[in-house]
Symmetry: C2
Subunit: 239 residues, 2 copies
């Protein structure tokens, strides 16, 4: 049976991973439609006309209604579907705190981790070159800065951002951290609080997180393999 | 009587104006606490410790609970106070559409209008110099781009973004447009749809909007006057 909810995503993207894990862990029925960003599948006119006028990922259609922007998609699902309360809790102003984190993330953490991923992995992959060391260094400094802010502004002595229960803020944040960690960034150096929080979140998410991580890592490796092949070919052609 | 809700703002800032108008138009009781950004009042340790750990404006405290990020503050007020439904309507997925707009705005329109305002007005004011023509041109191109996207992605043949009723998406967007328009940007050139929408929103907001606009313009002029005085003094000193 066709599901009313269609989810368009690419696991190379941090928000796609967060929403995928959220959908699975909340047991929301959905049709998973992978779209390849490196192949530019989200940039086609067909995607724009039939799925998402922003030509961005992740995206959903729900009973034909198109929606973009990961934080808006999360709120839509939390409102329209049956979702465990802890992800976006009404109690103790948990929603306000989650909203505050998500807005901060969008203007800070996402900008830094996306830039690092682009410089270290995406641009070299697309252009079949090695990463620019100086561009990676600049981007890495921004990641250091944003991880320090994250630790200072949002982590405390409790297990998760809101306290004893995991929320979408934690899920969203761990996928941001992974966007740099998975390609070699030493996120935990001198950041014990971050390391403890990361361990708790990964454990709490369990198999949903593990399987998405595995696919993410496989995609990184597969594309890297293709890139090295491309580099070798380019090298051979030059000789 | 002291209000439980304290609102910290600077009318030079677009999100401060949007929330100020929202509070007034929704008749939410609040204590208005102006904070001068150009004097750096939001950067002090006192502000950080007692009001907002992000050291950002706008900010609220509600029964002592501190909250930052304008979109999070809006949702907090819509949830915790008595607010007319049309600002954030449940019907016809109006909330999802508003959330989508606000997320888009944060990463696109706000970035462009803030940069333009900084290059054309804030940096020259703080450094007592004339604006850099090339920096203003670059920033202006970004504004052109974001206004085109706004018109294409969010405006249609209907009066407001969601249809026949004004929502917080319209209020937030008009304050973004004003951030450039108030300092001379020709936002409506070749943008009839934008001009029509702007007129509808301004009319619908009525006196709440007009009085905030008046104060915004007065602040721009007052500070500009001080700047010209500063420039004249600097000039006199050089001679």
């Amino acid at each position: 049976m066709t599901q009313p909810l269609k989810f368009y995503f690419d696991l190379l993207n941090q928000s796609s991973r967060a929403l995928y894990i959220f959908l699975e862990a909340s047991k929301i029925p959905f049709e998973a439609i992978p779209i390849s960003m490196v192949k530019g599948e989200h940039l086609t006119g067909e995607f724009r006309d039939n799925v998402n006028r922003f030509r961005k990922l992740p995206a959903i259609t729900d009973h034909g209604y198109q929606l973009s922007e990961s934080a808006a998609i999360f709120r839509h699902l939390a409102r329209e579907k049956l979702v465990p309360e802890h992800w976006y809790p009404r109690r103790h102003l948990g929603r306000s705190r989650t909203d505050e984190y998500l807005a901060w993330q969008q203007s800070n953490m996402t900008v830094a981790t996306t830039d690092y991923f682009q410089q270290k992995w995406l641009v070299p992959y697309l252009q079949k070159t090695r990463p620019s060391e100086s561009a990676v260094n600049v981007a890495g400094k921004q990641v250091e800065h944003t991880l320090n802010d994250f630790e200072q502004l949002f982590l405390n002595s409790r297990k998760f951002i809101l306290g004893n229960n995991i929320s979408y803020a934690d899920l969203s944040a761990i996928c941001e951290v992974d966007q740099t960690k998975a390609i070699g960034f030493g996120a935990f150096k001198n950041r014990n609080k971050l390391a403890d929080w990361y361990k708790s979140v990964a454990e709490e998410l369990g198999p949903y997180y593990k399987s998405v991580q595995k696919e993410f890592n496989a995609k990184l490796k597969l594309n890297n393999g293709q890139q090295q092949q491309g580099e070798a070919q380019a090298h051979a052609l030059k000789q």
